[in-house]
């Protein structure tokens, strides 16, 4: 037997001993074992160990835990029979993180909103302003026009607005006005809708802090007015404290001062509207819009710090009385290009929608000043939507700012040639009067002012016209004794 065959059989002895060889191989190994003592001895050793170790008795498995194991298996089998447990779906696994992120985002949004420290104050201010405006709208013209005493508030507004430009921004009014932008975001749905329609919202949202700053600048005079009011000892109203002013609005129909306050609030609101427009033009807007309301009183006071409303209420009749003497009612034809003119002289914001929302308080103010006589309903004047008149008025304002008074006169005359409401027409006439005086054309200027006096002698515009005539005639140096404005 060759050695390699011998080793081959030794390697197969293990399988042979444990019966894992196939039958032919097993027979071959058996045949080999008959002639090979070495392999026979090796196989005997394997079997000897196996026989000996086979005496190691088999231990029986313990029964402890068998029942619980079977019960556990039965439970598992029942679950398996019911089908695999619905594995947490992908969206469920993402639900928690997504919800967490959403919560964090919500908290962040609220935090950002609450970070704006001025967000609360303007809300109250604006709410009060809206309330006062609503009250002003609700009050009937008769209640708002206690005859001659209703006139004084008009001049009171004019200086305030005129003082906007020169007066430095004071911290006090700034605090009250700057948050107005943020308040606008919280405005009522009606107002927000109106602003949205007018396209104004995006304007002053995009203006960002510009609106606030311009508002602050525009509000500067208010502080000045307040100072002057305090200096004059008037305690009826506190102009910087808009809230207080507006709190007095409900008492408006009850007294003359209430009416003055009403107008004051209305004017303040009218002035506030362009301020909300933001941007660098807010100041100009404030000025121009006030011009619509009070005519060219800005020029008469020449940027002087505005007196408080009560002070002006007492001062205006004096001017009125002084002007009335030299100011006969002039024929309408005296004003060139005025024949058959129905003007809408209001200086209104550029867009028609702005005109719908902004001039509302201004028209009420004008109505108050005019005693409601010639004024068409504000809705009619606004709904007319004649942008050409507004545009002309605005261009005239721009021309005035640029110093081109001739162009201003032309534009004003063109604006007057368009059909306008009474109040706007009076404003345009006043501006025309001022422009003509500036150009040295006294006759045309007097004609324009007289036109105002003839059309609405008891209105604030007429007072402004009288003041202007008085000043131009040198009568301003010796004002007449205060008297009740002529009706």
């Amino acid at each position: 037997m060759k050695p390699q065959n011998l080793h081959a059989h030794e390697d197969r002895l293990l399988d042979f001993a444990y019966g894992e060889l196939a039958a032919p191989d097993a027979q071959a190994v058996e045949a080999h074992l008959q002639g090979c003592t070495r392999c026979t001895q090796a196989l005997a050793d394997i079997r000897g160990v196996r026989v000996t170790m086979a005496h190691l008795s088999t231990e029986s498995a313990p029964d402890a835990g068998l029942d619980s194991l079977l019960a556990y298996a039965q439970q598992a089998a029942r679950r398996a029979a019911e089908g695999p447990a619905p594995a947490p779906s992908r969206w469920r696994r993402w639900l928690l993180p997504v919800m967490g992120l959403a919560s964090v985002a919500m908290v962040g949004v609220f935090a950002l909103r609450s970070v704006a420290p001025v967000a609360e104050a303007p809300l109250a201010l604006r709410t009060n302003a809206d309330l006062s405006r609503q009250v002003a709208e609700a009050v009937p013209p008769e209640a708002r026009h206690p005859t001659s005493s209703a006139a004084p508030p008009a001049p009171a507004e004019a200086p305030m607005a005129m003082a906007m430009a020169p007066a430095p921004a004071h911290a006090e009014p700034f605090d009250g006005e700057a948050p107005k932008e943020s308040y606008a975001k919280k405005a009522s749905s009606t107002r927000a809708k109106a602003e949205l329609e007018s396209g104004r919202a995006e304007g002053w949202e995009s203006a960002g802090s510009g609106g606030g700053l311009s508002g602050a600048v525009a509000q500067g005079p208010r502080g000045g007015a307040a100072a002057k009011s305090k200096a004059s000892g008037q305690s009826v109203s506190d102009p910087p404290a808009l809230g207080q002013k507006e709190k007095s609005v409900p008492r408006k129909p009850e007294s003359v001062e209430g009416g003055a306050l009403d107008n004051q609030v209305a004017v303040a609101e009218a002035r506030r509207e362009p301020l909300r427009l933001g941007g660098s033009t807010s100041r100009e807007e404030a000025e121009s819009s006030f011009d619509d309301l009070a005519g060219m009183e800005k020029d008469t006071d020449d940027m002087a710090p505005p007196p408080a409303a009560p002070a002006l209420a007492a001062e205006a009749p004096r001017r009125d009385a002084a002007v009335q003497r030299p100011a006969p009612s002039a024929p309408a034809a005296a004003i060139p290009g005025q024949g058959g003119v129905e003007t809408k002289g209001g200086r209104l914001p550029p867009t028609a929608s702005r005109s719908r929302s902004l001039p509302l308080p201004a028209k009420k103010l004008d109505d108050d000043r005019l005693g409601g006589a010639p004024a068409t309903p504000p809705q009619d004047a606004d709904k007319g939507g004649r942008p050409s008149s507004m545009e002309l008025s605005r261009q005239a304002q721009d021309a005035r700012r640029s110093g081109n008074r001739e162009l201003e006169v032309n534009l004003l005359r063109q604006a007057l040639s368009v059909e306008t409401s009474g109040t706007e027409r009076l404003g345009l006439l006043n501006r025309l009067c001022d422009a003509e005086f500036a150009l040295g054309r006294r006759r045309e200027a007097q004609a324009a002012c007289n036109q105002v006096l003839s059309e609405a002698p008891g209105s604030s515009a007429a007072q402004v016209a009288r003041s202007r005539l008085m000043r131009q005639d040198g009568a301003l140096e010796a004002p007449a004794a205060p008297s009740q404005p002529t009706e």
Partner: protein, 199 residues
């Protein structure tokens, strides 16, 4: 096992009753400690239940369950090696300098007939000692093949080594046992007669 996967609890009971004792003996002879063997046995079957969904028909259940049991035995032996505690099966040195006898040898084998009990009381400790003297990798192969009847090919699958390695370990185990039994004075004839050299 497939039936149990489908939700048949009785199939699992059949499996348990069929394989429970061989698995237990494998575990007992692997770890050499009855109490630990019982714990490992219970843990083995619990793992079978938990892992039933992972079982694939391509593998024999016997191979699968012994693989689980063997891994648990290895873990248990590793933990026990850290414990450093004296075991009943641990040999104690005698006063005469011999290797001594396991503490379990002194305990009576309750439940057996007097003759059978006397025979086992003498032979079993020797066999257990000889078996325990093998290295783990040889002992597990010998146990799986000799007591559990697992073919070498399947043992290779259980232990994760090649079949040739398994056979090599088996040969080493047989040689070691033979030498050890000879040292202990136990051979086939003595075992058959119930005589031991231990004394």
């Amino acid at each position: 096992m497939l039936a149990f996967q489908a939700g048949d609890a009785r199939a699992f009971e059949v499996l348990v009753r069929r394989h429970r004792t061989p698995v237990f003996n494998f575990i007992l002879r692997f770890v050499g400690h009855r109490a630990r063997a019982e714990d490992v046995l219970q843990e083995t079957w619990l793992k079978v239940v938990r892992s039933a969904g992972e079982y694939q028909a391509k593998a024999r259940f016997t191979t699968w369950v012994y693989t689980i049991a063997r891994n648990l035995c290895v873990d248990s032996a590793r933990k026990e090696s850290y414990r450093q505690a004296a075991s009943l099966e641990a040999p104690v040195n005698g006063a005469d300098g011999d290797e001594g006898r396991a503490l379990g040898e002194a305990l009576p084998d309750a439940g057996a007939s007097p003759e059978r009990g006397a025979h086992n009381a003498r032979l079993r400790p020797l066999l257990e000692r000889a078996l325990a003297s093998l290295p783990d990798e040889q002992r597990e192969v010998f146990i799986l093949r000799e007591y559990s009847g697992i073919p070498f090919k399947d043992i290779a699958e259980v232990t994760g080594v090649s079949e040739n390695t398994v056979k090599s370990r088996m040969r080493y185990a047989l040689d070691g046992l033979r030498r050890r039994l000879a040292e202990l004075g136990v051979d086939g004839d003595l075992a058959e007669d119930g005589r031991t050299v231990v004394g």
